[in-house]
C-alpha cells in the first residue's frame, strides 16, 4: 500500500524525535547524577570527628602514662595532634558542616577547653595536674562524641537521601532507556519495512522492465515485419517510389524508380537531396508545361507534372509531403495513356475537320455548282427552243460549253473526294525510290503539247527521292495547272529540279498575276481563294490538297510570290525513307 508522503514520514519522524528526546533526557539525568556523586564533602566528616576523638583519648592516655613515669609517653605531641584535629574541624568547610548540624557551640567549647589544657600540660609538675587535665578532657570528649553522633546520623540521612535520589534518577534513566529501546525498535521495524518495500519495488521494477523489454522486442518485430511488407510492396510496385526524410534526404528507393527514369543507380544513394534529384530529372526530361523552368514544389510541398523522356515515352512525376514531414516521389509510366490521349485528340481534330469540310463543301456546292448548272440549263433551253433552227457549228459550241461545265463539276467532285479521303485518313502511301526528274518530265508531257512554253531545268540527270509517285504526280499536276491558269499564255513556265543535303526539290515558276502579300499566309487554307483569282474558275482545294499530300510523304510545299510579277511553288521531298510515326497515315 502506498501512503501519502506526509503520512509516510510521520511515524519515522515521531520515532526519531522520541529517540532524541529520550536520549537527551537520559543524558541530562546521568550528568546530574555524576554531579551529585561529586558533591560528597560530608563523607569525610565522620572520620575527621572520630580522629579528633582518638586524639583526645590518646592525649588522656599519654597524660596518665606520663604521670605514672612512662617516659615513652608524649603528652605534648598528643596535645598538638588534638589541637590540629580541632583546628581542622574549625576550618571553613568542616565548620560550615557542623554549623548546619547546629553544633557550633560544641565546637567552640572544645577550642575553649584546648586553651585551658595547654597551660596545664606545660606545668612543670604534670603529676599534680593530671586530675585537672582529665577533668577538662572528659567534657571535651563528651562533646566530640555528641558531634560524632550527630555527624553519623547526618551522614546516614544524607546517604539515604542520596541513595533515594540516585534511585529516582536511575529509575528515570531506566524509563528513558526503555523509551530509547522502543524508539530504536520502532526505527528498526520501520527500516526493515522500508527495506522490504524497497525490495518489492525493485522486484516490481525488474518485472516491469522485463515486460517492457519483451513488449519492445515484440513491437520491434512487428514493425520490422510491417516495414518488410511495405518495402516489398514498394519494390514490386509498377511505379517508381523514392522516400525522403525530414531533411529531404533520400532514405528509400525501389528498383522501378531507376527503370522508369534514366537516372544512374549510383546517383540514387542514401542521403541524396530531394532538390538535387529533381534538378537531375529536369536535365534529362522535357516537362510538358514548358513554362516551368525547374521542378519546383508548391507551398504545400506538392508537385505533379508529366515528363517526356527521349525515346522512352512519358512519365508522370508526383511529389507529396508525407505525414511525418518527409517527401515521397512517385513516378508512373503514362506513355500508353499519352498515346491514347494523342490519338483521341487527333480523332477529335479529324472530326472537326470533316465537319468543317462538310459545311464548307455545302457552301461551295451551292455557289460553284450553280454557275455550271446555269450554263447547262441555259444551253439546254436554247437547244429546246431553237434546236431546229441552229446550225451545226452553233449547236456544237453549245454542247462543248455544256460538257466543259460538266467536266468542271466532275473535277470539283474529285477534288472534294480527295480532300475527304485526306481528312478521313484513308490515303495509303505506297512510297518507293523514284527519280523526280523523270516523274516531272512525265507530268509535263501532256501540258507541253498544249503549252510549248514549259521549260524544265534539272541540276542532275536523275534526282532520287522516297515518295509515292501517284501522289507526287497529282501534286505536280496541280501546281502546273495553277501556273498555266494564272499566267498569260505568252509567258514561259520554268521548272527547276535540284537537291540539298537530305531533300530534293521541284520549283514551278510562272510570270503570272502573283499573290497579294496579305493572302500568302492563307494560300494553303482550304476553300481560300486569293483576291485576284476570283475571275478564274476554282474552289480553293487544290493547294490545300497538294500540301497535305506533300506532308504525308514527309515533304513540304513553300511559296514565294510578287503580285503582278509571278509566283514560285516549290515541292520538297525527302531523299531517303524517314521513320514513320506510330500515329502516321496508314
Amino acid at each position: 500500500m502506498i501512503r501519502p508522503p506526509r503520512t509516510r514520514y510521520l511515524l519515522p519522524t515521531v520515532a526519531i524525535v522520541a529517540l532524541v528526546v529520550f536520549l537527551s533526557g537520559s543524558l541530562l539525568q546521568l550528568l546530574q547524577l555524576e554531579k551529585d556523586m561529586r558533591l560528597h564533602v560530608d563523607e569525610n566528616m565522620l572520620w575527621v570527628v572520630t580522629q579528633a576523638q582518638v586524639a583526645g583519648h590518646r592525649l588522656a592516655d599519654d597524660v596518665h602514662r606520663y604521670s605514672h613515669g612512662d617516659t615513652g609517653a608524649n603528652p605534648s605531641l598528643r596535645f598538638d595532634i588534638l589541637a590540629s584535629r580541632l583546628a581542622l574541624m574549625h576550618d571553613g568547610p568542616q565548620r560550615r558542616y557542623l554549623e548546619a548540624l547546629g553544633h557550633t557551640n560544641d565546637l567552640d567549647h572544645t577550642l575553649h577547653t584546648l586553651e585551658r589544657l595547654e597551660p596545664a600540660l606545660a606545668a612543670p609538675d604534670m603529676h599534680t595536674n593530671s586530675a585537672l587535665i582529665h577533668t577538662l578532657l572528659a567534657p571535651l570528649l563528651a562533646r566530640l562524641n555528641s558531634i560524632a553522633n550527630a555527624v553519623m546520623v547526618a551522614e546516614w540521612e544524607s546517604a539515604g537521601t542520596r541513595i533515594d535520589t540516585y534511585r529516582s534518577n536511575m529509575l528515570q534513566v531506566i524509563g528513558l532507556i526503555i523509551g530509547i529501546l522502543f524508539s530504536g525498535l520502532m526505527l528498526v521495524v520501520l527500516l526493515i519495512r522500508a527495506l522490504q518495500q524497497q525490495g518489492r519495488a525493485h522486484h516490481a521494477l525488474a518485472c516491469h522492465r522485463d515486460e517492457l523489454e519483451n513488449e519492445v522486442q515484440r513491437r520491434t518485430r512487428d514493425l520490422e515485419a510491417e516495414r518488410r511488407r511495405v518495402v516489398t510492396a514498394i519494390e514490386t510496385a509498377p511505379d517508381g517510389f523514392a522516400a525522403f526524410d525530414n531533411e529531404n534526404r533520400l532514405t528509400l528507393v525501389n528498383p522501378q524508380f531507376s527503370n522508369l527514369l534514366p537516372v544512374p543507380p549510383e546517383v540514387l544513394e542514401q542521403g541524396l537531396h530531394l532538390h538535387s534529384l529533381l534538378t537531375k530529372i529536369r536535365g534529362i526530361a522535357r516537362i510538358e508545361k514548358d513554362d516551368t523552368e525547374a521542378l519546383a514544389l508548391d507551398v504545400n510541398g506538392h508537385l505533379q507534372c508529366d515528363l517526356e523522356l527521349a525515346n522512352r515515352g512519358w512519365r508522370q512525376l508526383t511529389v507529396r509531403k508525407a505525414r511525418d514531414g518527409g517527401q515521397i516521389i512517385r513516378v508512373a509510366d503514362i506513355t500508353n495513356y499519352k498515346a491514347a490521349a494523342k490519338g483521341l485528340e487527333r480523332s477529335l481534330q479529324l472530326e472537326r475537320g470533316v465537319s468543317e469540310f462538310h459545311r464548307s463543301f455545302a457552301g461551295m456546292v451551292s455557289h460553284q455548282f450553280r454557275t455550271p448548272m446555269a450554263v447547262i440549263d441555259s444551253g439546254l433551253q436554247r437547244l429546246l427552243r431553237r434546236g431546229s433552227t441552229m446550225n451545226h457549228d452553233e449547236r456544237q459550241q453549245r454542247l462543248h460549253s455544256m460538257r466543259a461545265s460538266v467536266a468542271q463539276m466532275i473535277r470539283l467532285i474529285e477534288s472534294s473526294l480527295t480532300a475527304a479521303r485526306l481528312d478521313g485518313g484513308t490515303v495509303h502511301l505506297q512510297s518507293r525510290q523514284q527519280d523526280l526528274v523523270a516523274l516531272t518530265r512525265q507530268c509535263c508531257r501532256l501540258p507541253q503539247t498544249l503549252h510549248a512554253r514549259i521549260q524544265i531545268n534539272a541540276s542532275a540527270p536523275a534526282l532520287t527521292t522516297w515518295c509515292d509517285p501517284i501522289l507526287v504526280e497529282q501534286i505536280l499536276n496541280n501546281l502546273l495547272t495553277n501556273a498555266i491558269k494564272y499566267s498569260p499564255a505568252t509567258t514561259d513556265i520554268h521548272i527547276y529540279l535540284g537537291d540539298s543535303s537530305d531533300q530534293v526539290f521541284c520549283a514551278v515558276e510562272d510570270k503570272g498575276i502573283g499573290i497579294a502579300p496579305d493572302d500568302i499566309p492563307y494560300i494553303f487554307d482550304r476553300f481560300f481563294r486569293s483576291s485576284n483569282a476570283s475571275g478564274s474558275p476554282g474552289v480553293g482545294l487544290g493547294l490545300n490538297i497538294s500540301l497535305n499530300l506533300a506532308q504525308i510523304q514527309k515533304g513540304n510545299i513553300t511559296v514565294t510570290s510578287t503580285e503582278g510579277e509571278g509566283t514560285t511553288f516549290t515541292l520538297w521531298l525527302p531523299k531517303n525513307q524517314i521513320q514513320e510515326e506510330d500515329f502516321g497515315y496508314g
Partner: protein
C-alpha cells in the same frame, strides 16, 4: 643559596659510595622526616634497618618549589612551599613501587611511586608563607596539584594528602 649544602651532600654521597657505607650527615637539629626502606643513602644504620633521618638543614638541600592550589579542607587557594617528593626519592635513590606515608597520629597511606613521577607532588613545609607546625598540619604536608589536573579532584587522591607527615617507608 642552596649551592653549598648541595655540594656538600654530593661530596658525601660520592665519598660514601667509595667506602661502601653510604651515610648522610647526621641531623644537627630536630629530625623532621624519617625515611626508611629501600634507600641507597642513609645516616642511621642499625642491625636490621637503615634510615635517613632528615632535619631542616638536610631538607633545605632539596630544590624549593612553590604550588598554589585549593584543598578539600580549606577555603580558597593556598600557596604552598616545599620540595618535590620526586626530588627527595631521587636524592636518596629510593627503589620501590610504593611509599607508605605515616602521620603523627599514625595515619598510614600507601602512595604509588607513579604519582610522584606523573605529577609535581609537593612536600610542603609552609602554607601562605607560614611554617606548618604539628598543631596545624605540620611539620610536612603532601600536596597534590589538584587545580591543574582534573583527575586529581577525586576522593581516591584526597586521602593521599597526608598532613603531619613525619615518616616515609619505601616499599
Amino acid at each position: 643559596m642552596h649551592f653549598l649544602p648541595c655540594l656538600s651532600l654530593s661530596l658525601l654521597l660520592v665519598s660514601s659510595a667509595a667506602a661502601q657505607t653510604d651515610t648522610l650527615p647526621q641531623p644537627v637539629t630536630p629530625v623532621i622526616l624519617t625515611v626508611g626502606g629501600h634507600i641507597a643513602h642513609f645516616n642511621t644504620d642499625t642491625s636490621d634497618r637503615r634510615e635517613a633521618r632528615l632535619d631542616q638543614t638536610l631538607l633545605d638541600t632539596l630544590p624549593r618549589r612553590t604550588l598554589i592550589t585549593s584543598t578539600v579542607v580549606t577555603d580558597g587557594s593556598r600557596t604552598f612551599e616545599g620540595f618535590l617528593m620526586r626530588d627527595l626519592l631521587n636524592r636518596l635513590e629510593a627503589q620501590g613501587s610504593t611509599v607508605a606515608a605515616t602521620a603523627l597520629n599514625d595515619y598510614v597511606i600507601r602512595i604509588p611511586f607513579d604519582d610522584f613521577y606523573r605529577y609535581d607532588v609537593l612536600v610542603a613545609d609552609t602554607m601562605d608563607g607560614r611554617r606548618l607546625t604539628p598543631r596545624d598540619k605540620g611539620p610536612l604536608w603532601i600536596v597534590y596539584p589538584r587545580d591543574t589536573h582534573d583527575e586529581l579532584q577525586d576522593i581516591r587522591y584526597d586521602y593521599r594528602w597526608v598532613w603531619q607527615l613525619h615518616r616515609l617507608e619505601i616499599q
